[in-house]
C-alpha cells in the first residue's frame, strides 16, 4: 500500500455532496466517531456521540422540516449565467452543479409544516458556499412575491458566505432586491420566519437573513457581517470566545431563539399555527 493513501481524508457523504453507495458510515468531523448513515439520518445529522451539527443539503433540510410529500418546488429551472464574463466562473458553476446536484444555491417552494401551508426557501452550502448571485436573488424574490399574492408565510433557511463576487454589482444589488420583496410581504401582513444556520454571513446577513419577524438559529451557527479572519486581521487582535456564534448573537439582541435541530419542525409548526389563527 502506498504511504500516501494512509493520509487521504475520509470522505463522508455530506462533504462529498452526495451519498456514496459503498460507504455506509460517516466520520464525525469533530469527534471522529464512525456513525452509520441510518443512525445519522435518525439524529437529523447531528452527531449522536458529540452533538456536532453536520451541514445539511438544502433538499434534505426541506425534508427534515416539512411534512412528508408536501413540498412542491417553484422556479426549479433557473440557472446562472456568466453575465460579466468573469474569468473561471463558468467552470465554478459547473463544479458547483456537480457537487451540489442542484442547479443553483437555493431551493424554493411551497409545503406544509405540521399541516400549516407555508412558502419555504433553503440555501445550499454545497453550491459555491451558498453565495447569492442573480439567480439566488431572483428565486427568493419570486418566492416572496408568490407568498405575498397567495397570503402565505415564508420560512427561510439561510446558509451563505455572502454575495457572489463573480457577478459583481449585480449580485450586490440582489440584497436590495430581496429586501424590497421582504418589505412588501411584511407590509401585507405576511409572516417571515428565518432559521439561521452555519454560517450566515456577508451580504445575506446584511439583508434578508436579518429581516425576519422571528429569527431562529441553530446552536453554534456563525452569524455575522464581516468574516472573522477579516476582523482579526484588521484589528490585529484575537477575537473573544464565542464571537459571532448564535448564542452570543442572541445575547446581543439579534436572535429570538436558538432551536436544536430535533425541535425545529415542531417549533416552526407552532409559530405557523399561532399566526394562522391570529390572521383569520
Amino acid at each position: 500500500m502506498e504511504l500516501r493513501s494512509l493520509f487521504i481524508k475520509a470522505n463522508n457523504e455530506l462533504e462529498g455532496g452526495g451519498l456514496r453507495p459503498r460507504s455506509r458510515k460517516i466520520t464525525c468531523r469533530k469527534c471522529q466517531s464512525l456513525i452509520s448513515v441510518s443512525r445519522m439520518r435518525k439524529s437529523n445529522f447531528v452527531c449522536p456521540e458529540c452533538g456536532y451539527y453536520f451541514p445539511v443539503r438544502a433538499r434534505r433540510r426541506i425534508l427534515m422540516i416539512t411534512d412528508k410529500r408536501s413540498f412542491i418546488e417553484l422556479d426549479a429551472d433557473l440557472e446562472s449565467r456568466n453575465i460579466l464574463d468573469f474569468p473561471g466562473y463558468d467552470e465554478k458553476i459547473t463544479a458547483a452543479i456537480e457537487k451540489s446536484r442542484e442547479k443553483e444555491g437555493v431551493i424554493c417552494g411551497v409545503a406544509t409544516i405540521q399541516g400549516f401551508k407555508t412558502c419555504i426557501f433553503a440555501m445550499d452550502s454545497n453550491f459555491m458556499m451558498g453565495s447569492m448571485g442573480a439567480v439566488v436573488g431572483e428565486k427568493i424574490t419570486r418566492l416572496f412575491e408568490y407568498a405575498t399574492s397567495h397570503k402565505l408565510p415564508v420560512l427561510g433557511v439561510t446558509v451563505s458566505g455572502g454575495a457572489r463576487m463573480q457577478e459583481g454589482m449585480i449580485s450586490l444589488m440582489q440584497m436590495s432586491k430581496v429586501s424590497a420583496a421582504v418589505k412588501r410581504h411584511s407590509n401585507k401582513g405576511g409572516l417571515y420566519i428565518v432559521l439561521l444556520t452555519n454560517p450566515t454571513t456577508g451580504g445575506v446577513d446584511a439583508s434578508f437573513a436579518m429581516l425576519g419577524d422571528i429569527t431562529l438559529a441553530e446552536p453554534g451557527a456563525r452569524v455575522g457581517f464581516a468574516g472573522p479572519r477579516v476582523i482579526e486581521k484588521s484589528l490585529n487582535q484575537a477575537l473573544p470566545e464565542g464571537f459571532q456564534k448564535a448564542e452570543r448573537v442572541l445575547e446581543c439582541g439579534f436572535i429570538d431563539e436558538i432551536v436544536p435541530r430535533s425541535d425545529q419542525k415542531d417549533y416552526i409548526g407552532r409559530l405557523l399555527e399561532l399566526h394562522e389563527v391570529s390572521n383569520e
Binding site: 444589488m173 432586491k177 429586501s179 424590497a180 446584511a206 436579518m210 446581543c252 439579534f254
Partner: protein, 251 residues
C-alpha cells in the same frame, strides 16, 4: 486609467469628500447628530439644507482628508449607529416629504467586534428594507468609493449617480484577488473583471448617470432638476418605480 487605477484614485488623498460636496451643492447646511438609540457615528455626516428652493435631507459618508480628520471620521467606515442615524433622518424626511440626497464614499461598513455585536448586518438590512418603500424621493451619488454593503446601505435610491472617477463594487479588488487566486497582486485583473467603474455599471443599467467631476454648478443644477422631477411624481408611482428598478437587476 485602467479600472484598478480608478479604484486607487478613488481612495486617494486630496479628493473631494462628502462634506465638500455638501458645501458645494447644499445651501445653509445644518448638521444633525445621533441615532437616538446609542450614539453619534462621525463616519456619517447628515443634516438639512437647501438645493435651490427645495428643502432636503442630506446624508454623506465622510472620510476626511488629513490623517487627523480621517481618524475622527473612522476613515469613512460607518458603524451600525451611522446607518441607524441615516435611517432616522430618512424617516424624518419622509414625514416632511423632503427628498433625501446621499453622498456615498466608503471602503465598506466598519469591520470590528463592536460593529458586529451592535448588529452591522441588521443595520444595513434595515436600511435596504426601509428605503425600498420610503415615501419620498431618494437620490444617491457615489462620489469616490462605493464599497460593498456599506455603500449599498445608502444607495437604495430612485436614482443612483456616480462621479466619472468613482467605483462601486461587491468586493474590493484586493480581497477578490486574494479569495479567488490567493494573490493580492492580481487586484488589477480582479478590478477589471468586477465591472466596477461608472462606465461599465452604466452600460449594465445599474446606475442612472455618470457625472463629470469638478463641475459644481452643473452638478447642483442636475440635482435640483432631478429632485424636482421626482417630487412631481405621485408618491405611489415613485415607490413602485423604485421597486421595479431593483426588481429587474440580474433578470
Amino acid at each position: 486609467m485602467n479600472d484598478y487605477e480608478i479604484v486607487t484614485a478613488a481612495r486617494g488623498d486630496g479628493r473631494l469628500c462628502a462634506r465638500d460636496y455638501i458645501d458645494l451643492v447644499v445651501k445653509d447646511f445644518m448638521e444633525l447628530h445621533g441615532d437616538r438609540l446609542y450614539g453619534d457615528d462621525k463616519a456619517i455626516v447628515s443634516g438639512l439644507g437647501w438645493i435651490g428652493d427645495i428643502p432636503v435631507t442630506v446624508i454623506g459618508v465622510q472620510k476626511g482628508k488629513s490623517l487627523e480628520e480621517r481618524v475622527e471620521h473612522n476613515f469613512g467606515s460607518a458603524h451600525p449607529e451611522g446607518y441607524r442615524k441615516a435611517l432616522r433622518l430618512m424617516k424624518q424626511a419622509e414625514k416632511f416629504r423632503r427628498p433625501v440626497l446621499c453622498f456615498v464614499d466608503t471602503a465598506g461598513a466598519y469591520c470590528g467586534i463592536d460593529a458586529e455585536e451592535h448588529g452591522q448586518g441588521r443595520a444595513i438590512a434595515d436600511n435596504l428594507a426601509q428605503m425600498s418603500d420610503l415615501k419620498t424621493p431618494i437620490l444617491s451619488i457615489v462620489i469616490g468609493e462605493g464599497g460593498s454593503g456599506g455603500a449599498l446601505a445608502l444607495s437604495h435610491a430612485d436614482r443612483i449617480w456616480m462621479m466619472e472617477d468613482a467605483y462601486f463594487s461587491v468586493v474590493s479588488p484586493e480581497s477578490c484577488a486574494n479569495i479567488l487566486w490567493k494573490d493580492t497582486k492580481r487586484a488589477d485583473e480582479a478590478a477589471n473583471a468586477l465591472a466596477l467603474t461608472a462606465g461599465k455599471l452604466y452600460k449594465l443599467g445599474l446606475i442612472d448617470r455618470i457625472c463629470p467631476s469638478g463641475q459644481g454648478k452643473e452638478l447642483t443644477m442636475q440635482i435640483k432638476t432631478e429632485l424636482q422631477e421626482l417630487l412631481n411624481t405621485p408618491v405611489d408611482e415613485l415607490v413602485e418605480a423604485r421597486y421595479r428598478k431593483f426588481r429587474r437587476v440580474g433578470y
